[in-house]
Amino acid sequence: MQYKSQAVAKPYFIAALALFVAQILFGLIMGLQYVWGDFLFPHIPFNVARMVHTNALIVWLLMGFMGAAYYLVPEEAETELHSPKLAIALFWIFLVAAGLTVVGYLTVPYATLAKVTGNDLLPTMGREFLEQPLLTKAGIVVVALAFLFNITMTILKGRKTAINTVLLLGLWGLAVMFLFSFYNPDNLVKDKFYWWWVVHLWVEGVWELILGAILAFVLIKITGVDREVIEKWLYVIITLTLVTGIIGTGHHYYWIGTPEYWQVWGSIFSALEPIPFFAMTLFAFNMVNRRRREHPNKAATLWALGTGVMAFLGAGVWGFLHTLAPVNFYTHGTQITAAHGHMAFYGAYVMVNLTIISYAMPLMRGRAANSNKSQVTEMWGFWLMTVSIVFITLFLTAAGILQVWLQRVSDNPMPFMMAQDQASLFYWLREWTGVVFLVGLVVYLASFFIKGEEKAAA
Amino acid sequence: MNVTPTRGIARRLDLVFAFLVAATGVTWLVGETGSAGPAAVALILGLALVKGWLVIREFMLLRRASLLWNLVVAGWLVLILATIALTYWKALR
């Protein structure tokens, strides 16, 4: 850690990991509800568990991105953060808002929550991933703007590198695209059309800029390869990402009342989306192979390489599997989508957050890297979680194929619930694999508390 | 200005251009006469192949690049034209 103010990242990372735990616990509840239908009913119905699961994910990833920005921007800009106090204040505001929102989800019926939080003023709630009350959404905008102010001011007064420029662009894009969450017309087709401007243009657009910037930063640090080399590849990869990803939005416009030309445009451009992910994997391995130093933090290197591979598999390969319109006609809205969603989010955004946390946390705790013992434990966490998510994805894919076959393709299409019963074996396997994932997460978290021989900070 | 080989390049470019325009004229003529069928399609796709090849080699200057680069870009051209020809042929049957 070269600048004192980088330390503000620490509470962000800790809160992110706490929310990660909450996300997984609620995921396990949902997984169980898939096979034990009335588990916790009517106290925590599936839809509530799902809101907590997905919203906790989104919030902790955002927390992680913010922490990453607070950590790497001062170092890249070679100056202290504009206002560490603001960063800490925003942390508490964000955390309390997120906490209150979750408490709201869990304690009162959603309709009541909508009423008391003023959803009537501007109805925005009750749409997938955008379930947050108006107040929370407004809070997110305020926090995001203040955060961007802080980061932008820091970069303006310091060195402008490709990494912090790309990061800043991604973060601004994130904030701007979120504004579409306030647009909710009665016309369902338009509602859905612009809803994707938040969801797709986040995860297959601007978030990938953030991902690329964080990965590039960590690769420079752990490999010692010339900044010039890493930065130009960063630009090439994010160019490919946006060239394919922006029009790739069209792969969500096949069956929601939008015209048929999206089937052609969406299929073509989203079919090319795996390319930037593949490039990123090649890039990460290439840089590590060309390393000019042996960084003591092996765990961070593992996470960085893992991000490349898993993002390619989850977002690239599993996305491609069902992105072509003729295939998607049968797979749209099935467990295939869920399978892709799990591996893509884990492989791209969970792992990149854990990469920067793995790299930065030891430094913020005053050492170049954790002890060997701690790192070995962390790597166990890596493998347990990563292998689990692969199997969760495979089981969900199996469930999805079965569902598509029974419910969509066969001559005598089976009703939804009957088809679900047929897939219950795979849901059980998924749930047990989810337990293994939780074990992996506990092991990972335990690594933070393992002492041993440490190397002094560089 | 007085180096002969480079003047040669200019003349070469002029000849390529003249050929490209002439080939385009033939393709246009095929369209104007409303010609259909395998022979006409083979002619225009063949001309497209030659035109594309000339643009790649002479204008994009891939003749100065390694074999790999030539294979990649010309391979693209051949692959696309072959796909078009194949689908045309299958639609006939």
């Binding site: - | 480079t6 200019a10 002029d14 385009t24 259909a36 994009m60 100065r64 690049a65 696309i80």
Partner: protein, 201 residues
Amino acid sequence: MTETLTGDAPVSRAAALPRHPPGDLAIWVFILAELLAFGVFFAVYAVTRMKNAALFDAMQPNLDRNAGAINTVLLLAGSWCVARSVDSIARDARPASVRWLGAAIACGGGFLVVKVFEYAAKFAAGINLATNDFYMFYLSLTFFHFMHVILGMAILIAVWIKARAGGYSAADHRGMETGAAYWHMVDLVWIILFPLVYVMR
């Protein structure tokens, strides 16, 4: 192993790299990506035509082949001018290089004008992307290409401005080669598009 750890490794690698075409490697990555996108688009067109040959053959005569052919010539001429411009700067003939570039930009502008008239006629007939599969592809492909011509012209104009200011020389004109390569790509794509969409039946 030790070799990858030493500082001079990239230098020895560079020597082993294949000879790249003129221009910056970054533009070539972009060109390959564009060619791939167009290539897939053409293939999807071809397959859709295969399945709906009757519709495609019935609709195709409505296209303006004259406009298509004129535009082909304009793009070829533009490409030729750019190639001559690069050749001129390689001989340090700077005024000639700038003139050739200007001519190329004029050709591109001509293409856009012809295309706008062609589109105007189609739009006036009430044709849009939802009319039928043929017009969907015709409009999609030509519009996507149309946008590329605009982008190519933007690049050429940037190069032209720099060339006029004396920014290129026989010793260093990589920027011009970079812009030229992109412009030729736009031409190359049209060389397939014209027979495929306007003529083949």
